[in-house]
C-alpha cells in the first residue's frame, strides 16, 4: 500500500483501485476542534479537485477536495457520531471516504511522505 499527499493537506492510501482519503495531521491541527464533517454520498463521482467534503471546525467551514478522480464507494460513518476523530486520529481512524479510482495516473502528480514533510516545513 502506498500513501500519497496533496498540497491541500489530504492523504490518499491506495490499495489496488481503491483510494482511502483523509486530511493530514497538519491540517487537523490548523483547523482546530472539528465539530462536523459533511461526507459525500455513496455513488457520487468526482473529478480531481472537485469539492468532496466539508469540515466544520469551531471557527469555520473548510472544503476538502477530491485528490484524485473516482466514484465514492464508502464514507466513514464513524465521523457522524464522533467528528473529533479527525483531531485525535486524522491519518488512520479519521479517514473521510473511499474512492474507486478512474485514472490511476493522477497519483503520479501527488507527493510522497518525504516530499509532503518538506512541503509542510516550508509553510
Amino acid at each position: 500500500m502506498s500513501r500519497y499527499f496533496t498540497e491541500d493537506h489530504e492523504w490518499v492510501d491506495v490499495e489496488g483501485e481503491i483510494a482511502t482519503v483523509g486530511i493530514t495531521d497538519y491540517a487537523q491541527e490548523q483547523l482546530g476542534d472539528i465539530v462536523f464533517v459533511e461526507l459525500p454520498a455513496e455513488g457520487a463521482t468526482f473529478d480531481k479537485g472537485d469539492d468532496a467534503a466539508v469540515v466544520e471546525s469551531v471557527k469555520a467551514a473548510s472544503d476538502v477536495y477530491a485528490p484524485v478522480s473516482g466514484e465514492v464507494i464508502e464514507a466513514n460513518a464513524a465521523l457522524e457520531g464522533e467528528p473529533a476523530l479527525v483531531n485525535s486520529d486524522a491519518e488512520e481512524d479519521g479517514w473521510f471516504f473511499k474512492l474507486r479510482l478512474t485514472d490511476a495516473s493522477e497519483l503520479e502528480s501527488l507527493m510522497d511522505e518525504a516530499a509532503y514533510a518538506k512541503y509542510v516545513d516550508g509553510l
Binding site: G32, D33, V35, F36, E38, V54, E56, S57, V58, K59, A60, A61, P83
Partner: protein, 377 residues
C-alpha cells in the same frame, strides 16, 4: 491606471502589534490579523479554552479596543447630545452599555461608558475605533477634550474563578458588583477595573499602563485558575451569552430596537430624545422595528455560519449574522436578523447551508445563562 480609493490604501497598512505580542507568541498562541492588529486566535484550542473560561478563569488581551478619555466643561451634556446613554445620571464608579448611532438611527458602534473621578471613560470596538474618533470629533464641542489612551492595555479576566484569582493580586476588587468600576493600584501601577465582560460570566476588565501589562498578565497566569484565552473562544463565549458582535450582528443596517438593545436607553432619554438617531428609536418604540435580531437554535450538528439565508417556506425572511458550534451545549447556535413577523420565540424557520435546509427555531437568548455578580436589590 486609476487611483485607488482610500479604503484600499488603509487596508494595505501592516497590522499593528499588541504590547503583549511576544507574550502571546511565547505561550504558543496562533496569531491572526483582526481589527488591524495581530491577535491571538487560540493557544491550546478553542473548545478547551472556551470550557476553561466557563469553569475557571480566562485571560483575554483586548488591547486592540479603543479606550477613550473625555474631559472638559459641559461634558455630560455634550456626550448626551451624541449618544443615547444617560450621562448626567451616571454615578462615579458606574458603567453603562451604549451605542453610537448615525442620523438615521443605524448603529455605528456599541460601547461601554463609565464615570471616573477625573474623566468619562469609554471603550469602543477595535475595528471601528478610528471611525468612532472621527465621528466624535465631528460632533463634540471645542470645550471637550478626547484622548485615545493608546499607552494603555486592556485585559479581561472572565469566569467563575476570576474573582478569586484577581483578588489575590488586588484584594479590594471583590467589593465591585456587575457594571461597577473603580481605580486600584498594583505594584505602583494604576489600574482601572470594571466588573463586566463579554462572556456572560462574572469577571473583570482591567485597563492598565502598557508598560505594566506583561508583568500583570504573568502574575494572573501564575494563578492556577487562569489560562490565556484567544479570540476564537471569545467569539463562541459571547455567542452563547447572546451578546452581539459589532460588524456582524450590529451594523448601520440595523436599529437599536431591531437589535433588541432598547434596554440601553433609559426612560427619560427615550421620551426626551436629544441624541443622534432618536427619531428612529422613538418611531420603532411606538410601531416596532421591521427587522429583529434573534437567537436561533438549529437541529442536527451542522453549524450555520454568518451569511446563511433564513427561510419561512420559500420566502427568504432573514440572514444569519453569527453562528457556530456551541462548546457548552454541543449543538449549533446562531444569531440572525429576521423580518419582525418571524421573530417570536419558537417560530419554526429553515436555514440554508450549502443547498441544504436546516430546521431552526427562534430561541430565547442567552443560550447559556449569564452568571453576573449583580448587586442585590
Amino acid at each position: 491606471m486609476s487611483a485607488e480609493p482610500d479604503t484600499e490604501i488603509e487596508e494595505e497598512l501592516p497590522p499593528q502589534e499588541l504590547v503583549l505580542d511576544g507574550w502571546h507568541r511565547a505561550r504558543g498562541a496562533r496569531m491572526v490579523e483582526f481589527a488591524g492588529y495581530m491577535m491571538p486566535i487560540q493557544y491550546e484550542g478553542i473548545m478547551a479554552e472556551h470550557l476553561w473560561t466557563r469553569t475557571h478563569a480566562g485571560l483575554f488581551d483586548v488591547s486592540h479596543m479603543g479606550q477613550l478619555s473625555f474631559t472638559g466643561e459641559g461634558l455630560d451634556a455634550a456626550l448626551e447630545a451624541i449618544i443615547p446613554a444617560s450621562i448626567a445620571s451616571l454615578a462615579l464608579g458606574r458603567q453603562r452599555y451604549s451605542l453610537l448611532l448615525d442620523e438615521e438611527g443605524g448603529i455605528l458602534d456599541d460601547l461601554m461608558v463609565s464615570r471616573r473621578p477625573d474623566d468619562i471613560y469609554m471603550v469602543v470596538n477595535g475595528a471601528t475605533k478610528y471611525d468612532d474618533i472621527g465621528w466624535l470629533i465631528e460632533h463634540l464641542p471645542d470645550d471637550v477634550t478626547m484622548n485615545l489612551m493608546d499607552e494603555h492595555a486592556l485585559l479581561a479576566l472572565q469566569g467563575p474563578e476570576a474573582v478569586v484569582a484577581l483578588s489575590r493580586l488586588v484584594p479590594s476588587v471583590e467589593g465591585l458588583f456587575f457594571m461597577q468600576c473603580a481605580g486600584f493600584a498594583w505594584q505602583g501601577h494604576d489600574l482601572w477595573v470594571s466588573r463586566s465582560g463579554y462572556t456572560g460570566e462574572d469577571g473583570f476588565e482591567i485597563s492598565l499602563p502598557a508598560e505594566a501589562a506583561e508583568a500583570f498578565a504573568d502574575a494572573l497566569c501564575a494563578q492556577a485558575e487562569v489560562k490565556p484565552i484567544g479570540l476564537g473562544a471569545r467569539d463562541s463565549l459571547r455567542l452563547e451569552a447572546g451578546l452581539p458582535l459589532y460588524g456582524h450582528d450590529l451594523s448601520p443596517e440595523i436599529s437599536v430596537i431591531g437589535a433588541d438593545l432598547g434596554f440601553a436607553i433609559l426612560k427619560k432619554r427615550r421620551e426626551a430624545g436629544g441624541y443622534i438617531g432618536h427619531a428612529r428609536v422613538a418611531r420603532e418604540l411606538a410601531q416596532g422595528a421591521p427587522v429583529k435580531r434573534v437567537g436561533l437554535g438549529i437541529e442536527g450538528k451542522l453549524p450555520a455560519r454568518e451569511g446563511a439565508e433564513i427561510y419561512a417556506g420559500s420566502t427568504k425572511v432573514g440572514t444569519v449574522t453569527s453562528g457556530g458550534h456551541s462548546p457548552s451545549l454541543g449543538v449549533p447556535i446562531a444569531m440572525g436578523w429576521v423580518d419582525a413577523a418571524y421573530a417570536a420565540t419558537g417560530t419554526a424557520l429553515e436555514i440554508e447551508v450549502r443547498g441544504k435546509r436546516l430546521a431552526a427555531r427562534v430561541a430565547p437568548m442567552p443560550f447559556v445563562p449569564h452568571h453576573y455578580h449583580r448587586q442585590p436589590s
